[in-house]
């Protein structure tokens, strides 16, 4: 019946010939949904000329079945009820296309993720599958032929974060001849790995394997390295991103500085006196500094917060005061690399793909006061100890107490600090067991101390890892299974005097123990960086509930995100060690590479368009488009959508007061028919 508004377009003149398939997915679906019944029922619906159930629709025979049926039964539309369209819509569209139909004469019904996996009652689940299928049949009858758009890809990749992940991805792409822009927030690349002395389980020297890669990045003609910089804005879409980068002033002209470090020696501060972040605060540096000897680029930086040549401006920012004698400038001489007038700059770049590799931050041990970090000087974090065992570190490779000289005779390493704890981070940080054992080994090697490891469970699921654990057992490291209750300087017995006491239940021996040690090392876990949410927004990604960036699929698309053309690699996706980080970085580079080499991306044709004759030119839609895709054509007095800019959100469609905008694939009538379909029950 007409709807009284003169709308006669609710039903198509003729029902097209529809083929329907319901997938068992082995028992994933068939275990809960009566697939045969669904097929039988859908077969009775108007327009359905073929209805089948099949074990694995996405398998080759499944897809071939569709192709064969299209020819044999002269199908004009196809519906598959199986898993989530986010997983296999593309597969089936391709199959339909191969069968000779327009790929958009297809609709997919999600009866696995949204049905068989979340419900238990077979009758209910079957009824739900029937409803959803009926809606799809209604909908597909109204589908129109569409064409996918091809958008060319800019063959440049932005990599954010210069840890081992970013470095490896950058080199992989650059070696393949692609342009890379690597943006790193700190004055040097290297990330956490640059701080380590040795890496588990092989105990090869971190610098030996990392430094060559860092220099390769610095020297590679295909890599533009932007250190001390951050991404502040991302516009556009896959293939064509416009990215704004903020370049913080380092007060050194990177082109001119040769890394001689004469300025550092000449600085008016004779002794290093400011907290050295790279050394986890264990060392000191001057206002002009280079984070570590192998830093890349080999360029110094001036810390305006402490440099005497700066003072506080009226708005709190640091401004040049010209008060210092500037012995550094003098030392630099003709090289003339020091430039106190440098200002923050913004640079816009255009890239086709993006790899986010911003890594992790270590759990803040102060959040667990029971372990006394910050209260008892001889409680250290693992990263501090990593710096101490490093020959180029603040103590020259000596493991010593906070006093800077005493070697510990007993050391307790507490695992899982901040990890596997619902009050802090509930996940296992995956590397702490291994690096704790690495540190146990190194400490023993350096100091011959007795080392105790306190653990909940030892997790060594990697190649050579369990062997490493065995090696440590052989070395005589103590392993006490129990999560430490507290670390205290409260001595009860004489041998505890002057020591730190660890109170723990030795759950294997079945007794509560107090173990006095000279040094406590906290194996702090890995957590998302504190700015992960902002970074996520910037790149339009999602975060899992823990706050690490969310991959598109944990198994099938582990480095892709829900934003096409944006990939993730390394510890920003979840806790992982260097081997896994590098593997992911390679995978992310390969994904970017495959897009770039293909040369274009196909875009869902779900864009909107204005019905030219019917638009009244009311301009209501124009401010609604987030991409400014809608323009007002003054000459004709109508709105026009620029299809190249439209991303298909449909907001304008839902808001055009006279119903004059249509969205491909999500047209009003298609959705109304779906609504009717899910609700029309016997």
């Amino acid at each position: 019946m007409a709807n009284g508004n003169g709308n006669n377009r609710t039903s198509p003149e003729r029902r097209p010939r529809i083929g329907f398939y319901v997938c068992h997915c082995g028992v994933n679906i068939a275990g809960t949904v009566d697939c045969a019944e669904v097929a039988r029922y859908v077969g009775t619906l108007p327009g359905v000329v073929l209805s089948r159930d099949y074990k694995y629709m996405c398998s080759d025979p499944g897809q071939e079945l569709i192709q064969k049926d299209i020819a044999e039964y002269k199908l004009e539309r196809v519906v598959v009820a199986s898993c989530s369209p986010l997983l296999h819509e593309h597969t089936f569209r391709t199959a339909v296309e191969k069968g000779g139909l327009n790929p958009f004469f297809f609709h997919m019904v999600n009866i696995r993720e949204h049905n068989s996996w979340v419900h238990t009652d077979r009758a209910e689940a079957t009824a739900k599958a029937r409803d959803l299928a009926r809606a799809a049949i209604e909908r597909v009858a109204r589908h129109k032929p569409l064409e996918t758009k091809r958008v060319p890809i800019k063959p440049v990749t932005l990599i954010v974060g210069g840890g081992i992940a970013g470095i490896h991805a950058a080199l992989t792409l650059a070696n393949a001849g692609k342009q890379v822009i690597l943006v790193e927030r700190e004055p040097t690349i290297g990330g956490h790995m640059a701080k380590f002395d040795k890496t588990f389980p092989t105990l090869d020297c971190a610098a030996c394997i990392l430094t060559p890669k860092m220099s390769a990045v610095g020297a590679h003609p295909n890599i533009r390295l932007l250190t001390y910089s951050e991404v502040v804005k991302v516009d556009g879409f896959v293939g064509n991103y416009k990215v704004t980068i903020r370049r913080k002033p380092r007060y050194i002209d990177e082109e001119k500085c040769v890394g001689c470090q004469d300025c550092i020696s000449a600085c008016v501060f004779k002794q290093p006196k400011f907290t050295d972040e790279f050394n986890e605060g264990l060392g000191k540096r001057k206002p002009v500094y280079i984070p570590f000897p192998q830093a890349t680029p080999q360029v110094v930086a001036i810390d305006s917060n402490v440099c005497l040549n700066f003072r506080n401006g009226p708005d709190g920012s640091r401004v040049v005061s010209d008060k210092c004698k500037k012995t550094c400038v003098e030392a630099c001489g003709d090289r003339n690399a020091i430039d106190f007038t440098q200002k923050e700059r913004f640079e816009e770049i255009e890239v086709g793909t993006i790899i986010v590799a911003t890594g992790f931050q270590a759990f803040d041990a102060k959040r667990l006061p029971a372990y006394g970090y910050g209260r008892y000087p001889n409680v250290f974090t693992a990263l501090e100890v990593e710096r101490m065992v490093n020959a180029s570190g603040p103590t020259g490779g000596h493991v010593v107490l906070r006093d800077g000289k005493t070697e510990p005779k007993t050391v307790g390493i507490i695992h899982c600090v901040g990890s596997r704890d619902k009050k802090t981070n509930r996940w296992c940080s995956r590397v702490c067991c291994m690096y704790s054992m690495k540190l146990a080994h190194l400490i023993k090697e350096h100091t011959h101390a007795e080392v105790y490891n306190f653990y909940i469970d030892i997790r060594t699921p990697g190649k050579g890892y369990e062997e490493f654990y065995n090696q440590l057992l052989d070395e005589g490291v103590h392993f006490v299974r129990g999560r430490v209750g507290e670390v205290t300087d409260w001595a009860i017995t004489p041998e505890e005097e002057g020591k730190l006491v660890i109170r723990v239940e030795d759950t294997l021996a079945g007794v509560v123990r107090r173990i006095p040690v000279d040094m406590v090392v906290l194996a702090t876990g890995l957590e998302p960086r504190s700015d992960a949410q902002e970074v996520r927004r910037l790149f339009n990604m999602s975060c899992g509930s823990e706050g690490f960036f969310l991959e598109r699929h944990p198994k099938l698309a582990p480095v892709s995100t829900f934003n096409d053309g944006v990939y993730i690699a390394g510890a920003c996706q979840g806790p992982k060690d260097i081997p896994d980080t590098v593997a992911q970085a390679g995978a992310a580079a390969a994904e970017a590479l495959s897009l770039i080499d293909k040369g274009y991306v196909e875009q869902e044709p779900n864009t909107a368009f204005v019905l030219e004759d019917e638009c009244s030119g009311c301009k209501s839609c124009i401010p609604l488009c987030p991409y400014s895709a809608i323009q007002f054509d003054d000459a004709r007095g109508k709105a026009v959508i620029n299809e190249a800019l439209c991303k298909g959100c449909g907001t304008c469609v839902g808001s055009c007061p006279s119903g004059s905008i249509v969205q491909n694939l999500f047209d009003d009538e298609e959705i109304f028919s779906e609504i009717e379909g899910v609700l029309a029950y016997e």
Binding site: N110, S542, S545, P626, C649, I671, V678
Partner: protein, 177 residues
């Protein structure tokens, strides 16, 4: 159906967050009430209030709209547009006699599979407590007065043809007491 009444919940989920969250609920095998029927849209901004009204009119007992959290919309701010519509629509629905709990807007991120479960379960229970909205049945019921008249007129015309008004009242005619 001779089974006991079950609430029907129609849900419009945005492709990027809530639909994905529902997929995640599936992948995580979280169990929830089978009463929900999800319709995928690209963005909660696509959800035309007409869809909500239509779903109710076609027999839904409640409608759930799921979108990305504010600030997280894949399309920047489609969700804000839905939020604004939601506010006015809720007031309109209230004036039209539809209980508050029947229409709900929730922000559910791609990581919040558990929230899909929680919201669907919660809403299903609320709808169960409210009882059926039953608009199709109501429309039928309303229109029955017209059908009854049609039948009655027919009968009366036949009678009138036979005799002049004989002071007979039809069953239809009720007093305006």
């Amino acid at each position: 159906m001779n089974k006991e009444w079950q609430p029907r919940l129609v849900a419009f989920f945005c492709n990027w967050c809530t639909y994905t969250a529902a997929d995640l609920a599936g992948v995580s095998r979280l169990k929830y009430a089978p009463n929900v029927r999800v319709i995928r849209v690209m963005c909660s901004g696509r959800v035309d209030p007409q869809f909500i009204l239509d779903a109710l009119a076609k027999g839904a007992d409640g409608v759930l709209v799921g979108g990305c959290h504010p600030g997280d919309c894949h399309y920047v701010e489609g969700n804000y547009k839905m939020l604004r519509r939601y506010h006015l629509l809720k007031r309109m629905l209230k004036d039209m006699g539809i209980e508050e709990q029947r229409v709900r807007l929730e922000w559910i991120s791609a990581a919040e599979g558990h929230k899909v479960r929680q919201v669907v379960n919660e809403m299903t229970e609320q709808l169960r407590a409210l009882g059926p909205l039953g608009l199709p049945q109501k429309f039928e019921e309303w229109d029955r007065e017209v059908e009854r008249l049609a039948a009655d007129v027919h009968a009366r015309e036949a009678a009138d043809a036979a005799a002049a008004c004989a002071g007979r009242t039809s069953a239809e005619e009720v007093t305006h007491a």
